[in-house]
């Protein structure tokens, strides 16, 4: 059916089951929940409907911030009547927000389904508002709408929107793109420093005051598999991508670091010096935390775009078998190296028709079904063991020191089911 794969065990050229139908995924607005924590001087202003506000609140689940750094400018009947109105109204809301919150240095105008459908020009609004409130406040727009983005693509859209405005540089440097928890980012920077690689800049930066520069001598690596547009935007600025598997687990982290080390001519000796100890630690942690996963099967519903790299980790480092690996979409330039490593066999699906996929999941009865929050409890009630996928996006799971935790996140539902002695009737 398909041409023989260059790596006979890999999945790079495996046929995709492409589906269209009901998609049970978040929209890109959800990314604001973690992006705003990564950029403490930024405010994310969604221009949308009550549904958008309700989504953010439900997805965030945390209503504990006195002054949260995101909000929704809710379109009302009057805004829908005429375009001019909506722009004026937006100016007024931004004015009020910025006068109340002088700490805001970056303002993201985030497009939503309704604002896209009524073709509210947020790019024009961002330019106008930047002119008015700059240079203290930089106003940028991107779309997190559900008609264009799924879940993690919101981060991609946000980072990609920042790239054209980044200052230029001729310097030879490494840019790492992807929002990581601070503790993980620091570990990563420590490893790169140990390898003697520098200068290193991370996109997004915590502060507007020292933006990442980019230019023809920039090479970049991605830490998240959903950054397809950011990848393209950086290439447009002349930067070159270092293609590698994603840094999940011991093997993924080593492969990711090795690709960068190779680019920067780091000696094998030095590489081993820096990585041997954490690699060993990671292996031991995975062996311990991931023990319940050995010999078990997994079924992935499409959710965060992390599915292919995580399936690679679970199959190659935790002894699992993948039955189906669903992704909202497959970007081969980005996840190709992971697909090379993922053992052939699983159904690779792209897009979704949720009811048909549920039928497949019920037939497969995997030992662990990885899915979104809307599906997890219903599947548990049917006797399947599930891992809710959103936690994989919110938890520190990258690089060596988190490899054991990552295995543990998948192992816990299986351990839990084994512990509980009172069955659900």
């Amino acid at each position: 059916m398909n041409a023989p794969s260059p790596n006979p065990t890999g999945c790079r050229d495996a046929p995709l089951l492409k589906e269209r139908g009901q998609r049970e995924v978040f929209c890109g607005l959800t990314a604001i929940v973690w992006l705003h924590r990564k950029m403490p001087d930024a405010f994310f202003l969604v221009v949308g409907s009550r549904t958008c506000a309700h989504l953010l609140q439900s997805a965030a689940g945390v209503m504990i911030f006195a002054q949260p750094r995101f909000g929704t400018a809710i379109l009302e009947e009057t805004d829908l009547a005429g375009m001019a109105d909506a722009q004026v109204e937006l100016d007024r809301e931004v004015e009020r927000l910025l006068s109340r919150r002088p700490d805001i240095r970056r303002l993201f105008l985030v497009g939503s389904c309704p604002s896209e459908v009524i073709k509210l020009d947020l790019e024009k609004a961002a330019e106008r508002l930047s002119g008015k409130h700059g240079p203290h406040v930089n106003v940028v727009n991107f779309s997190g709408s559900g008609i264009e983005t799924t879940f993690t693509e919101g981060e991609d859209a946000c980072l990609a929107a920042m790239v054209p405005d980044l200052p230029g540089t001729e310097a030879r440097q490494l840019v790492v793109a992807g929002a990581l928890p601070d503790v993980v980012e620091d570990q990563m920077l420590g490893l790169l420093e140990g390898l003697g690689i520098g200068p290193v800049a991370v996109l997004p930066t915590a502060s507007a005051d020292n933006p990442v520069a980019v230019g023809p001598n920039t090479v970049f690596a991605l830490t998240q598999p959903f950054l397809g547009d950011t990848h393209a935007a950086l290439i447009r600025r002349g930067a070159r991508h270092i293609s590698a598997p994603f840094p999940f687990g011991e093997e993924g982290t080593t492969a990711w670091l090795r690709a960068i080390a190779h680019e920067f001519d780091v000696s094998e000796e030095r590489f081993r010096e820096v990585t041997d100890a954490p690699r060993d630690r990671a292996r031991r942690a995975i062996a311990q935390a991931g023990a319940p996963l050995n010999g078990k099967s997994a079924f992935f519903f499409p959710d965060s775009q992390l599915e292919i790299p995580l399936a690679r980790f679970l199959t190659r480092e935790c002894g699992m078998t993948a039955l189906e690996v669903g992704q909202p979409y497959v970007h081969r330039d980005v996840v190709g190296p992971d697909m090379d490593l993922l053992p052939a066999g699983p159904v690779l699906s792209e897009g979704q028709d949720v009811d048909k996929q549920l039928d497949r999941a019920r037939a497969a009865r995997a030992d662990l079904t990885v899915c979104g929050l809307g599906l997890a409890n219903p599947l548990e009630a049917e006797g399947l063991t599930t891992k809710w996928a959103i936690e994989l996006v919110f938890s520190p799971i990258h690089f060596y020191e988190q490899a054991g935790d990552l295995a543990g996140l998948f192992a816990r539902p299986i351990r839990r089911r084994a512990l509980l002695k009172v069955a659900v009737e």
Binding site: R23, V25, I74, L75
Partner: protein
């Protein structure tokens, strides 16, 4: 355009989902973009439902917009019908689909599905979740309920409980038992647990009980008019309201109001001496109109609190709440802006808040105890145990729930006696509470962020008045849970008299002045 940070209510199609999810044999085909499927998790996670809401979303994308979203809807509708074989279908649009004007209702009606198709018009840019639930249930009733022969015995329908409602599950059980004692059977409870064929036989009941006006009143009014069924106006939350409710039922049915109060403990618990400390506790109430109105009566008449402010977020109940506020001698706060509510609470500095999940966060930040009386609620407000708000057991549950966040009477007394002992230092807090600043968001808090420390609202209110060192020291000896009030009262007392400084004498002058 209005900037909103947190919202009390979702969009109206979420209200429709609350009705559809509560029912059986009904399916909702919703024209909506893919992100709108987030709403499923409200039901599967917050309410821990063990099945997916019966909703099919068309999940159109940008590329469909230029093409044929109408056909997408028809396909989704047909496939949903074939897969789920519902007895009836409701169809509608979310906010985005409303803009593209595909008319899902019209399309579905022409498809010849062989089951009733009920179109919903829910204006997303004007109305909100409660309206959506009320209107949806009304439309279902209007389409399916027919005049039928009354049951031989006196029966009623329970109207209004939905999925994601605050304690609806247990209120149904409590009310069913209460009515049973009077010899009245429940004909149909709807939407919760009802099928479309149950809706068709609503007319067999002799009268309706409007459990929650927010989600059931439109249907009750229609049934009163079209099916000749009177409906109850008293919501039986609290002891007084429960007694009034049974009297009302008795007036409607001519049956004797019987109530077995052997299980009722609230009146005695309130009268017993340990509760003396509850006297005049200043409380602020906020939530949906119905729960606030019932809670205000309990607070004042059954707990002996002082209601210092009240309000609601659903403007459908604004008139009722304003009238009620007047009776309580306070100003009503009718808003859906969380920041306004926070500002009002800060200004009033109550000793306790009776509110929603949102006020719980306000309370945490301001260091004010809070008990939840109304939706929106969180996963912890769907307890495993039987925990109604209505009827006899509801009153007992309310007593416990409201008292729990406070320092208990005997404990308050002991703190007073031993306040200078190191075990009773201010930071020790109440013995029945866990560690401070524990996130109540729990399972729903994926970021794992801890809330900021509560703000010290006992800080000086008026910077003009200076506390002398000895007065400040004396103030510190006042137990922490009344210190804020002592500071506020003293400062108010001082500024009324134009004093620039507060001495120990001023402190005690003020104490005498405000003594009650």
């Amino acid at each position: 355009m209005k900037l909103s940070v947190w919202t009390y209510e979702g969009p109206p199609h979420v209200g429709a989902m609350r009705v559809a999810t509560a029912m059986k044999g009904l399916h909702y085909v919703l024209h909506a973009p893919q992100g709108d499927t987030y709403a499923d998790l409200l039901f599967t996670m917050i309410e821990r439902r063990d099945r997916r809401p019966p909703v099919t979303y068309t999940t159109f994308q940008a590329r469909d917009l230029g093409a044929d979203t109408a056909n997408l809807f028809k396909t989704a509708c047909r496939e949903a019908y074939e897969r789920f074989k519902p007895e009836a279908i409701i169809v509608g649009a979310s906010c985005t689909a409303e803009l593209i004007q595909d008319d899902p209702g019209g399309m579905a009606e022409t498809m010849g599905l062989g089951v009733p198709v009920i179109p919903l018009e829910l204006p997303s840019y004007q109305r909100k979740e409660n309206f959506g639930a009320d209107e949806t249930f009304f439309q279902i009733v209007r389409h399916l309920a027919k005049p039928v022969e009354r049951t031989a015995r006196v029966t009623c329908n329970l109207i209004g409980p939905t999925a994601l409602g605050f304690r609806h599950r247990d209120d149904i059980t409590e009310l069913t038992g209460l009515l049973m004692e009077m010899g009245i059977e429940v004909n149909v409870c709807a939407p919760y647990g009802a099928t479309p064929s149950d809706i068709a036989r609503l007319g067999a009941a002799h009268f309706n009980i409007c459990m929650y006006p927010e989600t059931g009143e439109a249907a009750c009014r229609w049934m009163e008019r079209e099916l000749g069924q009177p409906f109850t106006k008293v919501v039986p939350i609290g002891v007084g309201a429960t007694r009034d409710f049974l009297r009302e039922v008795s007036e409607i049915t001519g049956m004797v109001a019987k109530i077995d109060e052997t299980r009722l403990r609230l009146p005695w618990y309130s009268a017993s001496v340990d509760s003396t400390y509850l006297t005049g506790k200043r409380v602020f109430l906020f939530g949906d109109g119905t729960h606030v109105a019932t809670a205000a009566r309990i607070a004042r008449d059954e707990m002996g609190f002082e209601v210092v402010g009240l309000g609601c977020y659903n403007r459908e109940q604004a008139r009722m709440i304003r009238k009620l506020a007047k009776e309580y001698g306070v100003e009503a706060l009718v808003t859906d802006d969380y920041l306004d509510v926070e500002a009002e609470i800060e200004r009033l500095a109550p000793e306790m808040i009776l509110g929603t999940q949102m006020e719980r966060h306000i309370g945490k930040r301001l260091g004010i105890p809070c008990a939840v009386i109304s939706a929106p609620v969180h996963v912890q407000d769907f307890p495993a145990r039987y925990s109604p708000q209505m009827g006899i057991e509801g009153a007992n549950v309310i007593f416990d729930t409201w008292v729990h966040p406070l320092v208990m009477g005997l404990e308050e007394h002991l703190l007073h006696m031993f306040r200078e002992d190191f075990e009773f230092h201010d930071e020790a807090g109440a013995s029945h509470h866990g560690a401070k600043a524990v996130s109540p968001a729990g399972a729903g808090d994926p970021s794992g962020a801890l809330p900021p420390d509560p703000q010290d609202i006992s800080g000086p209110m008026n910077a003009e008045v200076i506390w002398l060192a000895d007065a400040e020291r004396e103030l510190k000896r006042v137990p922490f849970f009344v210190r804020g009030k002592a500071r506020r009262n003293t400062e108010a007392f001082a500024s009324e008299r134009g004093l620039a400084e507060i001495s120990v004498d001023t402190l005690y002058e003020a104490k005498a002045h405000f003594a009650r």
